[in-house]
């Protein structure tokens, strides 16, 4: 499972550039579904045909990652860049990156060194506009290979830490993608049609899920994403790594779906936490819920440390708990899917 996660995490596709990776992801889910297609925004939509096809259940995760984009080529071949999605500027100085030019180029993000700073400057974090990517190549070589608008991804990936903790470049939300594919692998045909939407452009505004959900228009949907895990510098709005999967309740979530998830977690002895969210969950669930005439939606999240860095870290037990709960929801849906979600 860790190998599968790493394979997905190592793929490099920032929002809007998922075409770089969706063929590979499509191949990974293809063996476990009857149909798979890629829509005009790059969403991968897979279908496992139901025995009765009386309902449509959609599992959703997003494939895009945060990253950077080349905005200007400077003299000496240094590259100015902008961020795509929420990138903390403080993690960038001296980070290694890969520039997806005519061929992939390794680079390092540089900034003004400390000895050239005026007093006080050293206490402030470097602005993205004051950083550049250095590929070590000459201006001529850079102009030959790099175009303004090329995407850039963070390079770093750690691997296994102690005690089932794993740190990879992109677990937000390839862990969710991995969970969706794993559920497709584990469950056979149910009564309902089971859909997967592995969506694009979540990080820039839930854009892929909006159209994927329109295309499928499911009777119910579960979005799988990440939430914050507790770290020494933050315990608010966060869950302990290793404490289970996180079920959200609040306006974004259909109450019967979250109740069902808690019920199943209890029945199958799966560890859960409750996340109370007062409105926008900041996930694709927010877009899915208001598709067409409305889609009953739930959200399951995996606690993640250091979100939106290249050292995103989670505990495998939380990931497994998330998969297990979705798996049971899907398998047991034959018993409850009919007409239970209308008020």
């Amino acid at each position: 499972m860790e190998k599968f996660l790493k394979e997905l995490s190592d793929l490099r596709g920032i929002s809007g550039f998922e075409y770089r990776i969706n063929e590979q992801i499509k191949k990974l889910i293809e063996p476990y579904c009857n149909e798979v297609r890629v829509d005009s925004l790059g969403n991968i939509i897979a279908l496992k045909k139901g025995k009765k096809s009386n309902k449509k259940i959609m599992l959703e995760a997003h494939m895009d990652e945060i990253g950077l984009m080349v905005s200007q080529i400077e003299k000496n071949g240094f590259l100015k860049f902008i961020n795509i999605g929420g990138v903390d500027p403080r993690i960038l100085p001296a980070s290694e990156v890969t520039v997806h030019a005519k061929k992939d180029l390794k680079g390092v993000i540089g900034a003004k060194p400390p000895h050239l700073m005026t007093s006080g400057e050293g206490d402030k974090s470097v602005k993205i506009t004051d950083m550049t990517i250095d590929t070590g190549l000459s201006y001529e070589e850079v102009c030959e290979l790099v175009s303004v608008g090329d995407s850039v991804t963070l390079s770093q990936s750690v691997g296994k830490l102690l005690n089932d903790n794993i740190s990879l470049k992109t677990l937000d939300d390839r862990a969710g993608v991995c969970a969706v594919i794993e559920v497709f692998k584990r469950v056979g045909a149910i009564d309902a049609d089971l859909y997967a939407s592995i969506s694009t452009q979540e990080e820039v505004g839930l854009r892929g899920a909006r159209v994927a959900s329109f295309g499928i228009f499911p009777d119910m949907a579960i979005a799988i994403d990440v939430c914050h895990a507790v770290t020494p510098d933050n315990s608010k709005n966060a869950f302990e790594a290793g404490s289970g999967t996180v079920v959200t309740i609040g306006p974004n979530i259909h109450p019967k779906m979250s109740e069902k998830l808690f019920e199943l977690a209890k029945k199958y002895d799966i560890k859960t936490n409750t996340d109370v969210d007062d409105g926008d969950t900041g996930t694709d669930a927010w877009a899915i819920q208001v598709t067409k005439t409305g889609v009953p939606t739930a959200l399951l999240s995996i606690p993640l440390k250091y979100m939106h860095t290249s050292v995103e870290t989670m505990n495998m037990s939380d990931f497994e708990a998330t998969i297990a709960l979705i798996e049971h929801f899907v398998k047991d849906s034959d018993d409850f899917a009919e007409d239970w979600l209308c008020y």
Partner: protein
């Protein structure tokens, strides 16, 4: 490849055995005498054609890094920086800790959870922590001891035809050049090649090494800053990548003997070796202590330009390393004392 091996090696100031062992193995069959002193300085002597004078060529084996100073109840590691590290370059970087090279991450809470003023300021090292995935303090203690060192977990890689990316180019580039000189050069005078420890915490190893050797002349082989970012004025670039070996006339610790620095620069020019002056008075190195040793030692520095010095990933040019090697070679063969 030797340079790759040296840059990837674990060698924070005070913990340099791994680096020393690589060098020892490399030079053992080429040096006439090898010894190691109480601080871990490695000396390799090569007999010259003449025994009238003694030449010292030095570099340093250590790199900047971290030392583990505490373990929290939750199992996170507290640490201190060893040597001058800009806190801005360490956030969210991966590290290796201790003899067993346990993997760790320098953590910070996610950007979503920060305030604007937090995002705009640089956290203090004491507010950062290393995450190894331990369950709690007791669990962490099974893998890490107080006083264990940590290094950036960065792999040497080539960028294009001429550039390299690695940690610790400062001063494994110097270690590489000295090792090659020992293998390939027949010096004019008896020469002691010193691989000094603890430069980054205050020129400690060189202090006792220079005292021991008390040479007639000394040359320090270093890596020095190269700050060509577009937002830096050209006159503040210090050195240029691919501009050749950088000869220092003055830095924060040394005013180099004028004849000696000019001899290096002009001899390089005369032999078509790419050479440049380090144009900004910044930084310092072992020359700062060597030239003040005993009754004084004429000392100069020649350096490989390196971008992003003291960070997880520096960039240097193989052409500049070659030029620096060639200047050192000329010095050993041609200098008249």
């Amino acid at each position: 490849m030797l340079l790759e091996k040296l840059c990837n090696a674990f060698g924070v100031s005070g913990c340099e055995t791994e680096v020393r062992d690589i060098i020892k193995e490399e030079i053992i069959s080429y040096a006439d005498e090898i010894s190691v002193d109480s601080m871990g300085n490695l000396f390799a002597k090569k007999n010259g054609k003449s025994h009238d004078k003694t030449v010292m060529v030095s570099c340093h084996t250590d790199e900047v890094g971290f030392i583990i100073s505490g373990i929290t109840k939750e199992g996170y590691l507290e640490f201190k920086a060893v040597g001058g590290i800009d806190t801005r370059v360490i956030i969210s970087k991966k590290v290796l800790i201790g003899k067993d090279k346990i993997k760790g991450i320098i953590g910070i809470k996610a950007v979503h959870l920060t305030t604007k003023s937090e995002r705009e300021s640089v956290p203090k090292v004491k507010d950062l922590y290393i995450d190894i995935g331990a369950k709690d303090e007791e669990d962490a203690k099974k893998y890490v001891n107080l006083g264990d060192y940590a290094v950036f977990d960065t792999k040497y890689e080539e960028l294009g035809k001429t550039s390299i990316k690695a940690k610790a180019i400062d001063d494994r580039a110097g270690c590489y050049i000295l090792s090659k000189l020992i293998e390939e050069v027949q010096p004019e005078y008896d020469t002691v090649f010193c691989f000094c420890t603890q430069e980054e915490v205050g020129l400690r190893g060189a202090t006792i090494a220079a005292y021991k050797i008390q040479p007639d002349i000394a040359l320090v082989v270093e890596a020095t800053t190269c700050s060509e970012s577009p937002d830096v004025n050209e006159h503040e670039h210090v050195t240029k990548l691919n501009g050749g070996a950088a000869v220092t006339f003055m830095d924060r610790t040394t005013i180099v003997d004028d004849d000696f620095s000019k001899w290096l620069y002009n001899t390089a020019k005369g032999n078509n070796i790419p050479v440049q002056y380090k144009t900004v008075v910044a930084g310092g190195n072992d020359a700062g202590i060597i030239h003040k040793t005993a009754e004084g030692i004429k000392t100069a520095s020649v350096s490989v330009p390196c971008r992003y010095l003291h960070s997880p990933a520096g960039i240097a040019s193989k052409k500049d390393i070659e030029a620096t090697y060639n200047i050192c070679k000329l010095f050993l063969e041609k200098i008249k004392l």
